[in-house]
């Protein structure tokens, strides 16, 4: 009898423990590691600024552009040969200008794949999807500037866009769509993003918001030469937020006069670190520097004279001397886009009004401005000059060099002189110029070199 009792007891205990089993097996293994299970996990991935807001490859375009030069002895001190190559448009495989972008896209794809897997209310779902789509569009557009030719309606279906990785599955091979299809996807993403995102979050513009999405969309249309759309979008963006800082109020005595998240910043992102863009190395193109008039407040707020008598750029919106320059989206860029499009579409009075809104905040209030040119060409030239002076080293000069006509650039070709060697590249060559993928990408994937 006793024996039977104890057998029953054993069976009873086994049953009880079995029921507790599932909970036991689902316990989290490492408290600092987590599988994705809540909306805060997804937000945390989107807020991982180390990859989401840094290391944009537009830096490569800046190095290949004409805003600056470096002295011979500094050039010889650049140890990465592939970095030197960018400066002289030598098509060598790039070093690391690649993987942070795809690491960012991994976060994007992870968030997109989890939207339906976890419980989200409508507001968070729209917000998260909007953020992810913004980052996706921004990353592919950023990559397209470097790894694809300039957009040309006639050839866009024939040339390739940057590699696309559309899922987190490692076994899923990257694909390359035509540049047309790529741009279409970017536009679709940004349209949705501007619909899903709200215009809050401007206190910490590391998070994508509606204005950032519209700002980027107008930049994308501009790159494609679609002035009507670019105008419409820039107007929409400026309707809800158009604030500019008055440079008369900015203290030129400080070496780095601008705050990190200043009121003009719609979206904050910075370049990849690059040896050539260090303050100690990079010197402003003398023609560009001389183009700032004395009443232009940017002349003193952007530049600091160096021991070698040339000027370094110290007016970066990231607020310090970092080699990683600010390349985000600002209200000033939207004003410039709006003015450019209005001028392009023949609305010269509107264009003058628009550009005046910006110049009022950039030129000394004590000196009277000369009247704007009255002809379309003249006004456009003026707007492009302002654009260049406003957006230098922001990752847009390379795009502008590739889309604008010779008359608005003011030269046929770019030149670099190192020692007794002269390197040059014509504007036409720039339009179809693409950089080469890092060697490792070619070794590890099935893709052909660019």
């Amino acid at each position: 009898m006793k024996n039977i009792l104890s057998t029953k007891m054993v069976i009873g205990i086994v049953m009880m423990l079995m029921l507790g089993c599932n909970q036991f097996l689902e316990e989290k293994s490492d408290m600092s590691l987590a599988t994705i299970s809540s909306k805060s996990d997804l937000y945390a991935l989107m807020d991982y600024t180390v990859v989401m807001n840094q290391s944009y490859v537009a830096a490569v375009g800046d190095i290949a552009s004409d805003d600056f030069f470096i002295l011979d002895k500094q050039y010889m001190g650049i140890s990465q040969l592939s970095d030197r190559a960018i400066y002289i448009w030598d098509r060598k495989p790039l070093a690391d200008w690649y993987w942070v972008s795809y690491s960012r896209l991994l976060n994007v794809n992870t968030v997109l794949e989890h939207l339906d897997k976890i419980q989200l209310d409508q507001k968070d779902r729209r917000n998260l999807e909007g953020m992810a789509l913004f980052f996706r569009a921004y990353s592919y557009f950023d990559l397209a500037q470097i790894y694809a030719p300039a957009y040309n309606q006639k050839t866009a279906e024939l040339v390739l866009g940057p590699p696309m990785k559309r899922s987190t599955d490692v076994n899923d091979k990257p694909i390359r769509l035509s540049l047309k299809e790529t741009m279409d996807l970017i536009i679709a993403d940004l349209k949705l993003a501007s619909d899903y995102l709200t215009d809050q979050n401007l206190t910490y513009p590391t998070r994508p918001n509606r204005n950032a999405a519209l700002g980027l969309l107008s930049r994308v249309y501009l790159a494609m030469g679609d002035y009507e759309q670019a105008l419409a979008i820039s107007k929409r963006a400026l309707e809800s937020y158009d604030k500019l800082m008055d440079y008369n109020q900015i203290n030129s005595g400080k070496k780095y006069p601008f705050e990190r998240f200043n009121p003009e910043v719609l979206f904050f992102s910075i370049h990849a670190a690059e040896n050539l863009s260090r303050e100690s190395v990079l010197r402003i193109d003398t023609v560009l520097y001389d183009s700032y008039t004395d009443s232009d407040l940017r002349k003193t707020r952007f530049f600091t004279k160096q021991a070698d008598s040339y000027f370094a750029f110290t007016g970066d919106y990231s607020g310090n001397s970092n080699a990683q320059k600010f390349n985000g989206i600002t209200t000033a860029e939207l004003w410039l886009t709006k003015a450019e499009c209005e001028a392009r579409l023949g609305q010269l009075t509107l264009a003058s009004k628009t550009i005046k809104f910006l110049t009022d905040k950039r030129y000394s209030s004590t000196v009277a401005m000369e009247p704007f040119p009255a002809t379309q060409d003249g006004l456009l030239k003026f707007i492009y000059a302002e654009r260049r002076k406003e957006l230098l080293l922001r990752g847009v000069r390379w795009m502008d060099l590739r889309r604008l006509e010779e008359m608005y650039i003011g030269k046929k070709e770019m030149k670099r002189i190192i020692g007794d060697k002269v390197y040059s590249i014509s504007l036409n060559e720039i339009k179809s110029f693409t950089f080469l993928f890092p060697q490792k990408v070619i070794e590890m994937s099935d893709m052909e070199q660019n």
């Binding site: 089993c21 987590a34 599988t35 490692v170 990190r260």
Partner: protein, 1072 residues
């Protein structure tokens, strides 16, 4: 040293003072029977009457009769196959029954798996048991390092051996039956699963005293180890602890031993003389090699000779003064001082007391041990206290209760002096470390000429004296372990029992780094943070000591329920068990750093701004911040649920069939994997040929054939099939949103490493057990081994751990024993022989650059290739300028970077296996009366390694001038005579890297070694003495190489590194 000798002396005194008391009387008859543990009588047992030396033998039924004219006689009972017994026979016993237990390897030996125990005759698996007698052969700090020369199929990797670890507790790298994982030890690598009695022991094995262990059982094949399922992949080692026994008189045992090692032979690292090194320095100085250092703003350390040369160049003093200044260095070797002040012969003292016994219903055991290890580095020492208490009670016919408490504590004190002086390379080898009782400073981090004068006396002393750390070692680690076992055995029905077992195992490890204000580490950081403005000092780095603390703990809870059933009917015997097990383990750690720490009043600075940037003193570097606590807080929970069953079936003790099955689920795997996780199983058969009617042999008395097939696995805590993320806190832009990074990409196809073991074996015994042994042949396949694979960066990560490779292993283990006796002289020869080789079957990526193949400890990536292959660059001799030449595209070449980065592997030569394919030991044991002498010879055959040679990078940069320097190419024509490249300036680091891994440096590692020699003496004890037995032993280990294949003057066992020193131990065991 004095107290070390105390205990042995005491033991000797006790023996000598024993009174011999004998009683006389009429002739008496003593009768009895001697049986084995199965109850069978044993024939031909020698019974020696100690008093008069007569030897009486038992008859075929095991019975004996002895006539003597005493009330009591002391006898020694011995038999070839059984453990000897010394006992007292009394006339009160009418018919005495004595039971002898089998010696190791004998057929009625009992094997344990951690879930059940079984007789060797009934087992179908490959088990290897090492008993107490063998474990006690040598004196070691931990139990696993005793196993090396006692087991087959188990390879102890010593390729990363460093003499500085000697005496310190280290984790041995053990490979059982070859490859089971490709990952490095420590990263979930190939550590076998260690079981203490019934449950895994995952703490530091050094916490366990070898004296706690009764026996060790290795589970080698599928049939033996598959029962441990997903954790058995690397092999299983079962440690059985000492316990009390029912119906045994109270027994006390006292053991003491001392082990002393020779000092490490630093001169084995063969370098050029200080005089010649100084010539090289002068050569480099003239070439301008030091100009960069001499003008650097960071003021790096510069040798005293270069300081003198620089002063001479500046005209501070003339050539004569220079020569006089250099002279003392020319004849100084820093190793003289290192051996004198830094090193000593390591010593290990071990003491252990044990008492155990039991009545019919109750048994118990208590044990306490103390071990003290002084490492060869003078600063380093380890103390261990181990204690155990166990009790078992038969409460009634049904319930049997057992409990055990174990507490161990390990305290280790060590220095970091080896950071500066290691076994390869002594910066500035001509320095002195101590003179006139004062520790001398050596140039370290900064030049003397800078720190001597800078700060005008306002700074703290900025000099580094290596021996200061030896005098006051800053690292203190204390580990504790509390283990509690509770067991309940229920005898439910006939043959049916239930076991309930619970274990709580707690580990705690506290590590303290005590950098007080007098240490260089603290002084340096304070000085670097000092700011002097207009003569007033301010400290950006908190003034005072630095105390770093790290505390880790682990809490394990195990619970097991098991039903056992045993039955015999008509020649069929069945033994089956089924059970379920829960296991929960919590690991955690945390740490902190205290700055401005004052050890006297325990005060420290609390208001530290870790984000504040401050300039480095004197522009020695860029801006600094105070280092933040870098110890991560961790909290890891591991849960396992397992279901298992074993069934053994035997028919007429002739045919054996055995099977096991186990299924594991864990919170590590994720739900999907748990569902996919097929049960691991094994099946085995055995055939006891000697029990067959047709098998009639007068020679062979035991012959068993057995075979098994089994699956086991390896789990890895760090892997998940799902995307995992890790939180980071906040970013440096003060954005108030938490951030997380992706740690692990999703991998739907993630599978756990799986192994398939096929084993066939033969066990035999012939000529009445005079010749016995076992031979096993195994084939092991591994599937889906993890390896870090580079990925296309477009995927978002540059590499990922994937199920990347399959391998196969083949091997052969033989364990043969031959015994012979001539009256009082017994001899036993025991040969252990192992063959093991491993091949890559499949890999994900087939091509890697040649550099990854020549890496030390590298793993081959070519299907069909040996896993541990030694590769080297093809060697084409020196060219006419003394440059080493390789082969590139079929031509001799000095384009080293092209060779090393070659797209094809044509530039490489495969030398052979990097691990011995054949290894083992041969042990001879002689016993004569009270003496027992044994000697072990070990061998490792068929493997290659690359010896070190001159590296000009090391010579120029680290002053490590290999003695091959003397044979270097010096003038055209030398290329015909030597293979040592020329010294060129500027340095060609490509040539250096190429030569280091060139085939000309490959050597055969084969060697035979005289491993140990041991003598034991068991003095005869007088009748009636309270002392039951007494034994003394002395043993010498690492005696020396008998033969080596290489002609070079290097010790292949340690791959040319400084070998483990000879050691000498002695000890005594007293039982009463």
């Amino acid at each position: 040293m004095k107290n070390m000798l105390f205990f042995p002396m005491l033991l000797l005194l006790i023996t000598w003072n024993l009174q011999v008391r004998a009683q006389h009387g009429a002739e008496r008859l003593y009768q009895g029977v001697i049986r084995d543990s199965t109850g069978k009588g044993i024939a031909d047992v020698n019974i020696r009457v100690i008093k008069d030396g007569r030897v009486i033998k038992t008859d075929s039924t095991g019975s004996y009769k002895i006539n003597a004219n005493l009330d009591k006689i002391q006898v020694e009972i011995s038999h070839l196959n059984y453990k000897s017994l010394r006992t007292v026979l009394s006339t009160k016993d009418i018919k005495k029954i004595l039971i002898l237990s089998a010696k190791m390897g004998m057929i009625d030996e009992v094997l344990v798996s951690g879930y059940h125990s079984l007789h060797k005759a009934r087992s179908v698996g490959s088990y290897e048991k090492i008993d107490k007698v063998l474990l006690d052969r040598t004196a070691n700090f931990d139990v696993l390092s005793k196993l090396e020369h006692l087991t087959t199929g188990t390879y102890f990797d010593r390729s990363e051996y460093s003499f500085n670890d000697n005496g310190k507790p280290i984790e041995p790298k053990i490979f059982m039956h070859g490859v089971s994982t490709l990952r490095k030890a420590g990263l979930g690598g190939s550590k076998p699963l260690v079981i203490v009695d019934n449950f895994p022991y995952e703490g530091d094995i050094n916490l366990l005293s070898p004296n706690d262990i009764e026996s060790v059982t290795l589970l080698k094949d599928g049939a033996a180890s598959a029962i441990w399922g997903a954790r058995a992949g690397n092999g299983v080692i079962v440690l059985t602890t000492k316990k009390g026994r029912f119906e045994t008189p109270l027994q006390q045992e006292f053991k003491a031993s001392i082990r002393v090692d020779a000092k490490p032979d630093l001169y084995r690292h063969r370098v050029i003389s200080s005089d010649d090194l100084i010539s090289v320095e002068r050569f480099l100085f003239e070439k301008g090699y030091f100009n960069g250092k001499l003008t650097s703003n960071s003021r790096p350390a510069i040798s005293p000779v270069v300081e003198l040369l620089e002063a001479n160049r500046k005209g501070v003093f003339d050539d004569e003064a220079l020569a006089a200044g250099i002279k003392p260095y020319q004849y100084t070797d820093v190793r003289d001082d290192m051996l004198k002040y830094m090193y000593r012969g390591a010593a290990l003292q071990q003491y252990n007391y044990l008492v155990r016994g039991g009545s019919e219903k109750l048994n118990g055991m208590a044990q306490i041990g103390y071990d003290r290890s002084l490492a060869s580095l003078r600063s380093d020492k380890t103390n261990r206290i181990s204690s155990q208490l166990s009790i078992e009670a038969k409460l009634n016919r049904v319930v049997n209760l057992s409990g055990r408490l174990m507490y161990n504590e390990l305290k280790n004190v060590s220095a970091l002096a080896t950071d500066f002086y290691s076994d390869n390379g002594y910066p500035f080898p001509y320095l002195k470390l101590r003179e006139g009782g004062i520790n001398l400073a050596v140039p370290y981090k900064y030049r003397f000429s800078y720190i001597d004068t800078v700060g005008a006396g306002n700074l703290l002393d900025w000099k580094y004296r290596p021996l200061d750390y030896i005098d006051e070692p800053p690292l203190v680690t204390t580990s504790r372990n509390l283990l509690a076992d509770l067991g309940l055995q229920l005898f439910l029905l006939k043959g049916l029992t239930a076991d309930l077992k619970y274990r709580y195992n707690f580990f705690d490890r506290k590590k303290e780094e005590r950098y007080f204000i007098n240490t260089f580490y603290a002084r340096d950081l304070i000085n670097r943070g000092t700011q002097i403005t207009n003569g007033s000092l301010s400290y950006n780095f908190p003034y005072g000591g630095i105390l770093r603390q790290q505390d880790g703990f682990s809490k394990e809870r195990n619970f097991r329920m098991q039903l056992n059933y045993k039955t015999d009917f008509k020649g069929h015997s069945i033994s089956a068990l089924a059970g379920a097990e829960w296991r929960n383990k919590d690991d955690g750690s945390m740490g902190n750093i205290l700055y401005g720490y004052n050890a006297e009043n325990l005060s420290f600075v609390s208001n530290i701004d870790f984000s504040k940037q401050y300039p480095t003193f004197g522009g020695l570097g860029g801006n600094n911040t105070i280092p933040f606590n870098s110890y991560p807080n961790t909290d890891i929970t591991t849960n396992f649920v397992s279901l298992y069953g074993i069934m053994d079936y035997a028919f007429q003790n002739r045919y054996l069939l055995s099977g096991s099955v186990r299924r594991d689920a864990s919170n590590l795997f994720g739900v999907e994997t748990n569902n996919k996780w097929t049960p691991l199983w094994s099946i085995g058969f055995g055939w006891n040929l000697h029990n067959e009617k047709f098998f009639k042999s007068s020679v062979i008395n035991f012959l068993k054939l057995r075979g098994s097939l089994g699956y086991s696995g390896n789990v890895d805590n760090s892997m998940s099939a799902l995307t995992t993320i890790q939180y980071f806190g906040y970013n440096n832009w003060s954005v108030p949103y938490p951030m997380a990074r992706i740690v692990n990409l999703p991998n739907k196809e993630l599978r756990w490493e799986k192994l398939r073991n096929v084993n066939v074996g033969i066990e035999f015994s012939a000529w009445n057990n005079s010749f016995s042994g076992s031979i096993d042949y195994y084939n092991k396949y591994t599937f889906d081994l993890f390896d870090t694979q580079p990925l296309d960066p477009t995927s978002g990560v540059s590499s990922m751990v994937l199920n990347a490779a399959n391998t196969k292993s083949r091997g052969f283990d033989a364990n043969l024993t031959l015994k012979k006796n001539w009256r009082d002289l017994n001899w036993a020869g025991n040969l252990l022989f192992s063959y093991n080789n491993n091949w890559i079957v499949k890999t994900l990526t087939d091509q890697q650059s040649p550099t990854s193949y020549v890496l030390k400890g590298g793993i081959s990536n070519l299907p069909g290739d040996m896993v541990y292959s030694l590769y080297a660059y093809k060697w084409e001799g020196l060219d006419s300028e003394g440059k080493p030449q390789g082969l590139l595209n079929g031509d001799k070449s000095t384009a080293y970077w092209d060779i090393m980065g070659s797209k094809t592997l044509d530039v490489l030569q495969k030398i052979g296996s990097a691990r011995p394919l054949y290894f083992g030991t041969f042990r001879n044991t002689f016993s004569y009366k009270q003496f027992n002498l044994s000697a072990t010879i070990s061998y490792r055959l068929k493997y290659y390694f690359k010896r070190s040679s001159i590296s000009y990078q090391s010579l120029f940069g680290k002053y490590d001038g290999h003695v091959d320097f003397y044979d270097r190419w010096q003038k055209p024509g030398d290329e015909l005579l030597t293979d040592v490249p020329a010294m060129v300036y500027p340095l060609d680091d490509g040539a250096d890297l190429f030569y280091k891994d060139a085939s000309v440096l490959a050597e055969r590692g084969d060697h035979i070694k005289f491993q140990d020699l041991r003598l034991q003496y068991n003095p005869a004890l007088p009748i009636g003495s309270k002392i039951k037995s007494l034994a003394f032993f002395i043993v010498a280990e690492n005696i020396g190489l008998i033969w080596k294949a290489t002609k070079k003057d290097i010790n292949p066992e340690y791959f040319g590194n400084i070998p483990a020193p000879r050691s000498f131990s002695m000890g005594a065991t007293l039982t009463f």
